[in-house]
Structures are given as structure tokens and as C-alpha cells.
Symmetry: C2
Subunit: 245 residues, 2 copies
């Protein structure tokens, strides 16, 4: 029940995490390799299970391992590098299979539901409606992001009736003659909410990257507002910018 001497300066769990991290990196442990359980670690390092647990939780937050109760803790895969606004294109470039699972599609009017924010971003009036899609995006069958996309209803009649398992931007081009030309986005680090964690198959309160995007067409109209949530342990973003003078 008593705590022992605090002889060394850095906590036990940090040292245990460092040793496990070294094992993963130095021995090039393959992704999905099973790690020792919390109880095994607590015996090996002669600490309580809560301390062993802290070490594994640190490694998880770093993206080195992932946890799948009640199966165990496993070595994680490296991150996928994305460019703004092109989940499908980036998958193509990497030679991987991208797909989308429609969660919902609806027309939004009035306030609330993100409709107000979307209308503002799209430069619409208060009584305009928007068409909205929420889709789970997967790469090689693994869920990586949840995209919520808003289009002005006036520009996209009938879009809600189309199957939305592929590229929405492709649909805009082919069906509505709208060419996306540039995007402006904000990227930030967030904690994922409960629903997102479920959908993305990560544990509660995992770290995520929020990308909020406005996309403009050939006439420089804002034709898309999107709020995309990515798994922070699996995604990185590549961006380019010209330097302001």
C-alpha cells in the first residue's frame, strides 16, 4: 500500500514505455504483433498493473501501439500521408484501395445541425438550404476518417439521390459541371467524441485531427464546406503554401 523510494528522477512508467518503444523500433516488430499484457508487464518490471498500464497508454497516445480489448495490445501501423481534399486521389497515389460508407445524406434548412455554420462558410442566405453528407472513409478496409460535406442545394439538385460511395468531387464535375480549383483549410488537433471513436474503431477520447475546409470552383464560388475528422495515429497532412509578401 506504501509507495517506494522515488530514487531516479523520471517516473517508472516512462522508463517502461521507453524500453517497449525501443523493442518495437529496434527489433522492427511487424505491425499487429501482440505486445505483453498489462499483467505480464507488471510482473516483468515488478510494478503494479496501474503503472504498467500507464506505460502502454503513453505508447498508445504516441501511435506506437493500439489496444483491442479483450484481445490485447498490438504494434501499430505507420501513418498515411494525406493532401488536403483528396482522400481518393491520395489513395490512388499510394496504390491503395479507398472506399466510402454513407452514414447519412440530407437537406438541411433552418438553424442548428451545423447548417448555420455551413451556410456562413458557403456565403449563403439564412433561408437557403444545404445538402449534407456524412461518410466514413476507409483505406484498405480500415476506417481512417469521417467526412461531413456540405454543398449549396441550389447548385446540386438531386444529389441526395445518387449513391455516394465514390468521389463526391467527381460527381460535382460530371453531373453539375462544377470544377474544384482550390481549398482553404484549418487543421487542428482534437479529442475525438464518442461516436467518432466508435466509427473509427479507436478507444474513447483518442486523439484526432480536425480538418475544416472550404473549396472554391472555377468561378471562385465557395461550393463546398467540409468538416473532416481523421485518426491522429494514422494520418499526416502534406500541404504547400506560397509565401505572403
Amino acid at each position: 500500500m506504501a509507495a517506494p523510494r522515488q530514487s531516479s528522477r523520471s517516473p517508472r512508467y516512462v522508463g517502461i514505455a521507453a524500453e517497449l518503444r525501443e523493442r518495437i523500433l529496434d527489433e522492427h516488430l511487424a505491425p499487429h504483433t501482440l505486445m505483453p499484457s498489462e499483467r505480464e508487464l507488471s510482473e516483468q518490471f515488478e510494478v503494479s498493473r496501474m503503472t504498467a498500464r500507464q506505460a502502454l497508454m503513453l505508447l498508445e497516445s504516441e501511435g506506437h501501439v493500439y489496444r483491442r480489448p479483450p484481445r490485447g495490445t498490438f504494434v501499430a501501423e505507420p501513418r498515411v500521408r494525406f493532401q488536403i481534399g483528396s482522400f481518393s486521389a491520395e489513395a490512388d497515389r499510394l496504390g491503395r484501395q479507398a472506399s466510402a460508407q454513407l452514414l447519412w445524406a440530407k437537406a438541411l434548412a433552418g438553424a442548428g445541425n451545423g447548417a448555420t455554420r455551413a451556410r456562413t462558410a458557403l456565403g449563403l442566405a439564412d433561408d437557403d438550404t444545404v445538402h449534407a453528407f456524412r461518410r466514413l472513409r476507409l483505406m484498405e478496409g480500415e476506417p481512417l476518417a469521417i467526412e461531413t460535406t456540405y454543398f449549396p442545394s441550389a447548385l446540386t439538385p438531386g444529389i441526395l439521390d445518387v449513391e455516394a460511395e465514390g468521389s463526391l468531387w467527381g460527381l460535382l464535375r460530371e453531373r453539375y459541371g462544377i470544377e474544384m480549383t482550390r481549398s482553404v483549410a484549418v487543421i487542428e488537433s482534437i479529442v475525438l467524441d464518442e461516436e467518432s471513436c466508435d466509427r473509427l474503431a479507436v478507444r474513447a477520447a483518442s486523439s484526432g485531427i480536425l480538418l475544416t475546409r472550404r473549396t472554391f470552383d472555377q468561378d471562385d464560388r465557395c461550393v463546398e464546406f467540409a468538416r473532416d475528422v481523421y485518426r491522429a495515429d494514422r494520418a499526416a497532412f502534406e500541404v504547400s503554401a506560397s509565401v505572403a509578401r
Copy 2:
């Protein structure tokens, strides 16, 4: 010593965090307002201190509160929005005071120390040297980022002897006639290492945003490689991109 019924579906600490989050948002608690201590919460909610602690740690990871032992837990400030490659410029735009604290400046040759990686990024040969700076960047006196910047030595003779408290890009322009024109960057979510946490005055293993950047000049030579680490709770990035066809 025994755990109680697990009657409701969501954990106690999530509910406690939700209630505290609501207090902060609904009552518009001012940044730096003192929150209840772990011991106070454990009494109020009739849970053990470890459970109250879990709730506060969740709020901390969300950026709603920050902790300053042994003073207590406080309401956090909102995030600052950055553009790629312009700490000083963005501070100007926001009407805030930016500054830099030089941590070190040196010439790097041979392998290791990030020199190999910097040379590769800058397109240099193995026997070229690079000039490197590490600086703590502050806004209104608050540390927000640690920048590590590499320049080809051949292009920047004598740069190590200049005071580096201001804009390095300004220095390049005025002293070396180098105009930065565009940047390519990768943004990802990381866990901050021990030294970075110390410098940025956040707790061990806090979440950070890593921005790795290459910047090109008027002749499209890569003249800068940078590895910048931002506090995830205080920074967001605004980027723009043209759509690939």
C-alpha cells in the same frame, strides 16, 4: 477496496468531465480560472481521487484546462491560428507580440544531429555543412512552439554570428538576397518529448503538432528545412491548396 455496480453505460469519469466541460462553456469561465482540485472533486462526486483525476486528464487532453502543479488546474485559453511559415507575420496580423529565444545555433557536418535529414531535404551533398538554429517562439510572452531551422552553409556565411531574436526569413532577404517564395510542409499530431514539454511549459507527454517544412526561394532552390513543434492545445493551422487535376 471493492468496485461498485457498473450500472450506467458510460464511465463515471466521462460524466464528471462532461459536467465540468459544461460549466466552463456555459458559464463562460474566464481563461486561468481555478478549477476544483482532484480531492475536492472526489468528495463532491463521491469517487476516488484517481477517478476524479481521470476526468481532469480528459479535459486537459481536450485543451479545456491546463494543470500547474502545485498550484492547481485552470481553465485554458483558446487556440491561436497559424499559417505555414510565418510565426511573426501571423502574430502581427493578430496584433500580438511575437518573440524568439535562441536555444542554440551551430554548424552541422557529418552524420547525426538531424544533419543527414536536413541535407537530404535541402538537396545537398554528404560533405556539405548546414547552419542550424533552435529557437523557442513566444506570443505575448507565452511559449507556443520550438523551431529548428536548417540553412545550407554555402548560402548563409556568417549567419551564426547574427542575433537570431527576430525573423530569420527577414535576415535571409536583407543580408543574403534570398526571397522565400513557397513552402511544402507535413503536419502531424505527436506526443511531445521531455525537453519540448519543459520548454513549452506543458506537462510530460502532452500532445503536439509537428510541422516539417521545406521552403524554396525565387530560383526554386530549397533554402530552408525546418522542424517545428507546436503546442496542440494552443495552435491550429490554416492552409490553402489548389486542387490537383
